[in-house]
Symmetry: D2
Subunit: 278 residues, 4 copies
């Protein structure tokens, strides 16, 4: 008996649901959760099912592969803790929120390490008995610094997700190419507004009445990857940019943790630089 | 060729999706929209599909009826304008919002009439060439007044929904029993907070920091029927109850119109005094 | 006995509140409402008071002028209906929302006319006995078209505000220069995201999870003027851009009407391309 | 030179602002922040000013006392860390959020201790070197248990606030009477909806489309004290009550921490079972 998550991303065609549900039915599987979406614009079919029954992963995979259109993406996943690495700089709120959730057993994740370019956050991370790795950028150019971080990352046998919990340095395409749709960043603005540095300052200068935060995958250009989750909060003329920053942190941490949770539960599909989320 | 909406509400059992999708597949139907939900607590299956193809209503109905478990509720609906009656008292915002949407062609509805216990709103309704019926409650007890309204309602061949757009009188169980899940009310609070009269005054007295509005079906007890839609907005100590009322009207009208739209598009299932909304 | 609104925008200096409140006290005025804000970054003082008592406008103005720092902006305003012109194109929701509020007596405004480049909205406006002026842009270049609209506007003795209720043409700096901080526009995005044409399409392409609307003054560059009000609503992958547009209209109309109300009640200060709102 | 917070709560009378601002002016004080509110319904005046200058607390206090109406409440407070005790039961999110903020230096507070009726949270609290006191309720009646907690509380020289971070036992009037407006609770519903036990279960049963959390002072009846802060989040039919609980925790912790911050910065006035918040 096994519980499995099935993720299908295929070109839509008549009878797809019928064929898949027939396979589940013929194998006497229970469907615990099921969600589908058809993107009519791009003629794409997305499905996430959680099933249990007397079936093994390989069996189910090959059975489904046979009935799906060519070029489909199929994943059959056994739910278990995923391996994550967190990168941060100096701010405590986003990292702290993940650490507390981890401690509370809310996250389906092993935190392999926290990597930072400063050691400011080491005392916090040490409390939770999680390895803290300082990779200072001082005296290094961007390429050298990233290579040193990549060296640290390569030491781990497996990394499912890298979480940028207010990591305040830009990552180059070279860094991110090995981790497509695996790096989750929190940007402290309501993207695509205020791309780049100091978004709260930009928001203050523009005189917005609402600020926000955006969790997204990092692919190639920072701040332009597929958006996973966003949220906002109201401000007014009495907020200077530091006030916005303080208020915004509550939005940032909740949005990042929500995006991480969606990723850990295999609820995110990426397509055309957008996400389908079940 | 027909486009049809299929609504199924059944006890869940293994193979239900398979059997339904097989029927669609065998009839070569296109699935334009499809949403399912299984309420695991009550073991109930809900599905709404929009299909088109070479099939007629009666055929599809009987085909589905055969494969569904006994005691299922099945509706096969041809999309067309529904007949609605609006009831209101003196306030203009909720009624006006519906009239403008109707004028803009946004609503799948014929407005048969507006019924009110005052004639305050007659000039507005007249502009839109919609019949306005005044049924004054003066000098009548509640039962007599309701009987007169029911007499007016009975004159219409068909009424799909009655919309209470700030109709400020309580309806008795006798009135509502003929219109189960057909009367949509907007209550000017975040139900179940502040049931009954003068919710903004109650909200002010309680010192809440957020106010809201709730659209719901009226069955038996006013303010206790199945909730369709809710929304809220922030207030603070500077709002007295009249300010809350003014601000709240924007929430009320949008929530009511949204609920009406969901009803007109056959997107609402009612079960266990709750709604499943696709 | 008069009720007056006092608006002060001055460089901050010690004793300003003392001097102003002394003047009010010496004249035995009642303060009905009072709000102040000091922008510490720019050392600017903003105050809005509503007072009543045995004083006339000119008296109070000159009394205040004496005690305020040089280069202050001072307005003493008698509350009365302001004169507004609405400009629209083809969409009904934002215009309709204003018309209903006007009809309900909610707005401190006379609507002098609705001007449009099409006659689509004429039947709606006619219902409310408000002059509808069609100024077609067909066969005209932008400058010619704007000149014809300006000719229409000049016929009115006074215009306090021009409301762009989904007027879908860009206004040139030449047009707007005569109406600084007097033209209120609703932009159908959460500015500064998605400046320019077709913001819902842009939002869809970018895959945002929240959409919004922004009411702002139009000065020089469209979409870059001081923001008055913003609001947002959640979307997900199932929304194509037409769905976003439909949903967004509810946000647009409420935000525009809110901004208009703030303007009519003299609650908006503009400074450094931002607004202070009391 | 001192920075002081001045809080005034008085019956409103003509000239109050004049007299207070004159005193500030005559003493050559800088006003760093200033907010006033007049409750016209109850004729009450509220003011919070942050001033600095060459003045001591006692001086300013007596100067203000002379000019204020009798029965006014006046506080002149030197900003410094306040002493707080946190009470919790088994859930980690609200407590954890406060601990992380404390660690980040965001809170103007010394956490004297965490008191719990279980020892589940001890490992978390120990990490932060904060005393953890277990006062088990097993085998004790409510009065005995509360007496033991009160004994622990009395050991501290000073307690400014007691924070109930999901403390899941009802406090009796006897307990709370010594700490009027000093006990801050987070209730996991949008009060006054779902007073009492298991609000998420109640919310699920009622079929609401929005859930919320409310931070409030505890005076006499639990869940009926003055509301400090509220926030909400959307749910739908797919959320069972456990899902609502999980989602709701993010709202709870942010709302509680916001209320605590307001209290620590002396921004809350309590009047007529409501709060005025600057």
């Amino acid at each position: 008996m096994a519980t499995l998550r099935v993720l299908i991303d295929a070109n839509d065609e008549k009878g797809l649901v019928y064929k898949i549900s027939k396979l589940f039915y013929d194998n006497e599987l229970n469907i615990l959760e099921n969600q589908e979406f058809v993107d009519k614009v791009n003629n794409k079919f997305f499905m996430r099912s959680v099933i249990d029954g007397n079936v093994n992963k390989a069996q189910l995979y090959s059975g489904l592969k046979e009935i799906l259109p060519q070029k489909s993406t199929l994943k059959v996943i056994e739910p278990k803790k995923k391996d994550i690495v967190i990168m941060a700089t100096k701010e405590m709120h986003a990292l702290g929120d993940i650490l507390i959730r981890h401690e509370a057993g809310e996250l389906e994740a092993n935190i392999l390490a926290v990597i930072s370019n400063y050691d400011v956050l080491k005392p916090l991370v040490d409390k939770f008995n999680i390895p803290f790795i300082t990779v200072s950028h001082e005296g290094l150019d961007r390429a050298e610094h990233e290579r040193k971080i990549l060296d640290e990352l390569k030491k781990f046998e497996n990394i499912d997700y890298i979480v940028l919990a207010k990591y305040m340095r830009i990552l180059t395409p070279n860094f991110v190419e090995d981790y497509e749709n695996k790096i989750i960043n929190i940007h402290h603005s309501f993207l695509p507004a205020f791309i780049g540095a100091n978004p709260y300052k930009q928001a203050y200068e523009r005189g917005v009445k609402i600020i926000g935060a955006t969790a997204h995958f990092v692919n190639n250009n920072l701040d332009e990857g597929p958006i996973i989750a966003q949220n906002v909060t109201e401000v007014n003329h009495a907020y200077n940019w530091k006030d916005m920053q303080k208020l915004g942190r509550d939005v940032e941490k909740v949005v990042l943790s929500r995006a991480l949770k969606l990723a850990l539960e295999d609820r995110i599909f990426v397509y055309a630089n957008k996400t389908v989320i079940f």
